[in-house]
C-alpha cells in the first residue's frame, strides 16, 4: 500500500521511509513524539497501540532508537514511529494506557527513563539487579560450560 498523501504532507517526504515490510516508518524528533503519537492516533485513525521497543545502535550520540507501532482498525494497516534518544524519553502512558508495561520493559532492559510514567520500576528482572542487560555494551553473561576437557582452560573443578 503506498504511503497515503495525508501522511506525506503531514510529516514531510524526507521523514517517511518504507522498509522491506511496506509499513510506513516516520522518523520523529524526540521532543515532538507525544504530539506525533496523538496525531497518528486521532487524525489518521491508527488508534490501536501495538508495540514499543528500543534498538541499541551504539552510535555516538542519541544511541537508542525507540520504535512505536500502531494499527488502524478501519484501514487494516500498521504505521511505525521512530525517534532517537540517549537517556530519557517522554512517556505516552497517560494518553495510551496500553504502553504502560512496554515502557517499563524498555526501562528495565535498556535503562531509558520515561518521564511521566505512573510507576516506572523494573518489570522483568529482580528489583535489586544492577545494569541493563539488553544494551549491546553488556555481555551475554553466559557461563563457560563445565566440560571436563575445559576445566583446565577455565580452571574450574
Amino acid at each position: 500500500m503506498t504511503v497515503s498523501d495525508t501522511l506525506l504532507e503531514a510529516f514531510g517526504a524526507d521523514a517517511i521511509a518504507t522498509p522491506a515490510d511496506l509499513i510506513p516508518t516516520i522518523q520523529v524528533p524526540l521532543g515532538s513524539i507525544e504530539a506525533a503519537v496523538a496525531r497518528v492516533q486521532k487524525e489518521f485513525g491508527y488508534t490501536r497501540f501495538v508495540d514499543l521497543t528500543a534498538v541499541d545502535l551504539l552510535s555516538r550520540e542519541e544511541r537508542f532508537e525507540l520504535v512505536y507501532l500502531f494499527y488502524s482498525l478501519d484501514s487494516n494497516a500498521w504505521i511505525r514511529l521512530k525517534t532517537r534518544t540517549d537517556q530519557q524519553a517522554p512517556s505516552i502512558t497517560p494518553s495510551v494506557p496500553g504502553a504502560n508495561w512496554y515502557e517499563r520493559e524498555v526501562f528495565d532492559l535498556f535503562g531509558i527513563e520515561f518521564v511521566g510514567h505512573p510507576g516506572l520500576t523494573r518489570i522483568m528482572l529482580p528489583d535489586d539487579w544492577q545494569g541493563y542487560p539488553l544494551r549491546r555494551t553488556e555481555p551475554l553473561g553466559s557461563e563457560p560450560v563445565d566440560f571436563t576437557v575445559t576445566r583446565k582452560v577455565y580452571g574450574t573443578g
Binding site: 522483568m124 528482572l125 529482580p126 535489586d128 539487579w129 544492577q130 545494569g131 542487560p133 553488556e138 555481555p139 551475554l140 553473561g141 553466559s142 557461563e143 560450560v145
Partner: protein, 179 residues
C-alpha cells in the same frame, strides 16, 4: 526399636514397610515453570498417566508433598522462590530436575537463568531432553522410586549445594554454591 538398621534386626520389617509406603506414593508439588510443565501435565493426563506410579496427586502446597519436579527454566527472580518452596517441604524430600533448562539451563546460557537448578537445591534425578518426552519423565520417576525403595530414610542429596545455603542475590550470575 530403632527403625533404620537394615541387617534383619527387629526394626527391619518396619523400615521395609516404611520404604515401600514412601516409594509407592510420592506426591509431587506443582512446580511447573515453562515448556516442561506442559509435558509434565501431559504425563499426568490420560495417555501417559502418572497415576500408575502413585504420583497422581499434584499437591499445590509444599507442606503435603515429597517430590519437587523442577519443570522448566529457573530465572534469577524465581531462584529464591524455588529455594523457599524447597525449604518448606517436609523431609524426606526429593528433587527431579526435569529438562535441560533445569539441569544445566540448556538452550539459554545467559544472564537471566540460573545455570542448572543444582546450584540452589540438591537434585536427585536429572532428566535430559528439551522438553523430555513423558516417557522420559516416567523413567526418571521409576529410577527415583528404586532409590527411595532402597533407602527412603537416609536421603542422599547428589547435588553440590548443602542444605540451608543462601542464594547470592545481587544479580550476578555466579550464584554461590559450595562444591
Amino acid at each position: 526399636m530403632s527403625t533404620d538398621d537394615r541387617n534383619g534386626a527387629p526394626g527391619y520389617i518396619l523400615s521395609r514397610l516404611e520404604d515401600w509406603a514412601r516409594e509407592s506414593s510420592i506426591w509431587p508439588v506443582t512446580f511447573g515453570l515453562a515448556c516442561c510443565a506442559i509435558e509434565m501435565m501431559a504425563t499426568s493426563a490420560s495417555r501417559f498417566d502418572m497415576a500408575r506410579f502413585g504420583s497422581e496427586v499434584f499437591r499445590a502446597s509444599p507442606r503435603q508433598s515429597d517430590l519437587m519436579i523442577v519443570a522448566g527454566r529457573v530465572s534469577q527472580k524465581m531462584a529464591p522462590v524455588l529455594r523457599e518452596v524447597y525449604d518448606q517441604m517436609p523431609e524426606p524430600k526429593w528433587v527431579i530436575a526435569m529438562g535441560d533448562c533445569a539441569s544445566c539451563s540448556g538452550v539459554f546460557n545467559n544472564y537471566a537463568l540460573i545455570q542448572g537448578v543444582d546450584k540452589i537445591v540438591p537434585v536427585d534425578v536429572y532428566v535430559p531432553g528439551c522438553p523430555p518426552t513423558p516417557e522420559a519423565l516416567l523413567d526418571s520417576l521409576i529410577k527415583l522410586k528404586q532409590r527411595v525403595a532402597a533407602n527412603s530414610r537416609n536421603v542422599r542429596h547428589g547435588a553440590q549445594t548443602s542444605v540451608g545455603v543462601g542464594i547470592a542475590h545481587n544479580g550476578t550470575n555466579d550464584a554461590a554454591h559450595t562444591a
